[in-house]
Amino acid sequence: MANLIYNISAIIALAAIVISFIRLIKGPSVTDRIVAMDAMTIIAISLIVFLAYFSNRIIYLDVAIVYGLISFIGVIAVSRYLERGF
């Protein structure tokens, strides 16, 4: 039962990543694309946690922590670039 619920949640996360990728391809301005990339990063963290559950290794969660700590710096860098100058 629990396994079925986790499977369905992982499929919903995959659908979410596809939808935000469509915004990244279509997005008319650069700002849309940056926000879409940030959303994809957050959903990828949840995918990593699902993979740690499916393969039964608690040690994969370290990768998720690294993602959470590092990923926002890229978004800050692009925003600083857009407002003219670092």
Binding site: N7, A10, I11, L14, I17, V18, F21, L24, I25, V30, R33, I34, M37, M40, T41, A44, L47, I48, L51, F54, S55, I59, Y60, D62, V63, V66, Y67, I70, S71, I73, G74, A77, V78, Y81, G85, F86
Partner: protein, 81 residues
């Protein structure tokens, strides 16, 4: 389940590579190339090598994008001068 993850993420990565080729704006191409590295690290985790996944997450999607932006910023400053 892991097979589904690999196939869907693979299709997204190939589409992002086509985006990096055909986008006219350089900033959009750089963001597309960042998405490729971002999803590649999830695939490394499926393939059973968390060390490589961690390296790709920090270097591929973080520092490479930022170094491209720094170079683009320097080019823009030269252009304005």
């Amino acid at each position: 389940m892991t097979l589904t993850i690999i196939i869907i993420l693979g299709v997204i990565m190939i589409a992002a590579a086509f985006g990096a080729i055909y986008f006219n704006k350089l900033l959009a191409a750089i963001v597309s190339a960042g998405v490729i590295s971002l999803l590649a690290s999830v695939i490394y985790l499926v393939l059973g090598s968390p060390d490589v996944a961690m390296t790709e997450a920090t270097i591929g999607s973080g520092l490479t994008t930022i170094i491209f932006l720094f170079a683009l910023n320097k080019v823009r400053k030269e252009n304005k001068k």
